[in-house]
Amino acid sequence: MSLLDAEEITKRFAGISALDRVSLTVERGELVGLIGPNGAGKTTFFNCLLGMLRPEGGRVVFDGVDITRLPVYKRARLGFGRTFQRVELFTGTSVRDHLLVAERSRRGDGALWKDLLNMGGPTAEELARSEETLELLGLADFADKPVESLSLGRSRLLEVGRALMTDAKLLLLDEPSSGLDRRETASLAETLRQVQQDRGTAVLLVEHDVEMVQSFCARTYVLDFGVLIASGPTTEVMSDATVRSAYLGDVV
């Protein structure tokens, strides 16, 4: 059984078909890419997986559970982690706080009465776990810095870390390379590889940057105009004629 099994997702906006029976699977611990030119439906598909949009047809099965109709936060509790194309951090808190709040959410034991008895603060165990993640991502030096002071690359890493704290089995990364230069992209890819080795987290990477997908993903799906036009091992997909024409335009 696959970790993520999206079956024939269909989404229409005012009669225009944004996604037409798109299917995709991700196995445990696998690194999968999803590419496509602008307007191909990548983000729409992503939002259907995450529950930000409700597809008209098809279903999403995650770890054996049908999650097609679950709200976002319930999917997160099942092990869906994500990052945002435009970084979404909790302004006004520190780097460590981000990990701690995610950790508390994973444990789910934040009753109000505990707060009222001043038992709502981070426990030693939570601090230790957040420390581990900080080390893994190389953010330990910034632990007590306010997030506003982080560079974009580190902010992206922090988003990854926040998702990891919830014990995400699958990380959905929404164009992580956007806004980063080549060196930063390479170092992000390197850290992600380490995360994958260390935690065994599967990754679904929605990307614009073909190079990053090539270096990172074993398997790739290609979307164009809401239809899957190719899928398979990344190297094969990249040499596929239809993919080339979708990206570069038909050479007449």
């Binding site: 995450l50 930000m52 709200p71 976002v72 936060y73 319930k74 997160a76 509790r77 869906f80 982690g81 994500r82 945002f84 435009r86 979404e88 951090l89 909790f90 302004t91 006004g92 808190t93 706080d97 701690l100 709040v101 995610a102 508390r104 959410s105 994973r106 789910g108 034991d109 934040g110 009753a111 109000l112 505990k114 707060d115 009222l116 008895l117 001043n118 038992m119 709502g120 603060g121 810095k145 306010p146 506003e148 002071s149 982080l150 988003e159 926040r162 998702a163 704290m165 919830t166």
Partner: protein
Amino acid sequence: MTDFVSYVIDGLPFGCVYALVAIGLVLTYKTAGVFNLALAVQSFLSAAVYYDLKARHDWPIVPALFVAVFVVGPVVGFILDRFLFRYLRSAPPVARLVCSLGLLVAGPEIVILWFGRTGSVNPPAITTNPDRQYHFLDYVVSQRELAIIVTTLLAVGGLMLLFRYSAIGLQMRAVVESPRMTELSGINADRVGSFAWMLSSVFAGLAGVLVAPLYVNVASQNFLFLLIAAVAAAAFGRLSSLPLTLLGGLLLGAAQGLLAAYLPSGSVLANGLRPGLPFAALFLLLLFWPGLRQRRETVDPLSGVDPPPPAPVATERSRALTIATRVFALVAIGVGSFFVFFQLDSYWLLIVTQGVVYATIFLSITVITGMGGQLSLCQATFAGVGGFTTAQLVDRYSDMPVLLTIVIGALLAAVVGGLLAIPALRLGGIYMSLATLAFAFMFNAVLVPLDWVSGGFVPLRVPRPVVGPVDFASDKAFLMLCIVVLAAVSVLVIFVRKGTTGRYLAALRASEPAAASIGINPARARVTALALSAGIAGLGGGMLVTLHGRANTVFFEPLFGLFFVVIVVTLGARSVQGAITAGLAFMLFPEFLDAVGLSASYQFIFFGLGALTFARHPEGIIEFQTRKSLTFIQGLLDRRKGPPATSAPGSPSPPGGDGAAGTRQEEPVR
């Protein structure tokens, strides 16, 4: 049947003016994203100007009407847009709502300064012979009513033609879709926005002039009532459709006419329900009207193109400075308490005690607005739930300890808050604020007059508590108790802020999608916040009735709920100090005004206008000034230690500031 129709006709003039103001609301909400509660003030102002010109200066009808509606209206609308709301476009919806709330609180008092609070009886109509009767079939309509109906139909018809056939109408429809997209096609969206504001203001002014003669005098509370009825009509129109909005206004007017005729006039409930109808209608519409369900805030499709707003300056403070400020605070509290307990007479003691009790109530706003980022406009009502419960319990079970009844009152208020939050939060954003507003007025109009709530005409008496050997009957002892309660609640609020709930709320406030993506349930966190907040307000309400020895309905009027928010937000909604300062200021500021010879109503003006700073300094004046001075002191300390080795990595520099200056200097050379 004839009766039925004539009752409907009786209600129509009211329905028409509701519709006019509602259309004004929809215009600015759709084009500028501002839900302009200040329309009540704009209506009031136009009505006052018309009264002044027509009745006091004997102007003829036409010029008076022209100046009141078509000069004053657009000018006010233009000023509001040009000098205030235009700068708030990228501000969060709550910030915009706070600004219009500030205007709603300050505005009427400003108008009254010029117009006078009394002496405006028999407002003139806009026709020469308003009492003349016209007969249509079996029905009788007065000229006054007919004028209102005809004017409304003309105004709405004209607006629809404007939208459909004029260039500015097309541009306005485009701006509704996306102001930035419109600008890209070469249209000045600011100008279109100003026009919408002016138009909206004309509609409000027209409604004000039309509605004034339906009442005995020109008084600000009539216009507040008008506003809330209009909000109900606008909600019926889903805050977007003009025809539906018109229909909503007319239906509400008709329902009011029917209710006035058919409800038996004997029962207290009927008497309360009649004026309470618009509030109840708004509340029910917000909860059950399908068009409003799951509505997201209007979002510009190009908004993602904007650079993110500049991050607040992150400061790191040295430990020594933090300790120093805490010691200073303790010393100040110690000296202050000595002064209060040993130097003040009973009058000032009462003032200070009230301030301490209000500070407790205001901490509820720290929870819901400061921590939760939501604007609740019914905190005075929650306090009322607590206060009335205390009074009722003490009245019925005289052997029940007073402190226990206060706690029960607080718990009941928390339950009410939680129940209100469940449907209201599903709506989110400004709808939650509107639902609390409707609830506050509905509670006041329908429930408060009932015997089993307020005790009817004579306020219920509440004795001071006796705990074991300690009798809190003396004012000093009771002040002590109030301080202990305030301290306890403050500590609880700080615990909650540091704990899970506070951290979840902080995450939600910063980014709801990100918070949900790590498994935080937004609705649950917010229901918890509103229930906790209502509980704190209820506790404060119980203390308040115990302090005064009776449960006066005046303490918990909905207007206070609005003012509470305004004063806390002005002084600081994020911190406990902010709430405590606000509580003391609420009591001491009128005394100060009195000492310098100003009327106490200036307090509404000062704090109402103060709330306008919320968009720029959501942390409030106290927090902002504290941070500024502490940063300054920190700077001095750092300088004495020598220059810092490296500048902070995130030290904000104006993006491209230097570069732009450089380019400008180079240009003349070329």
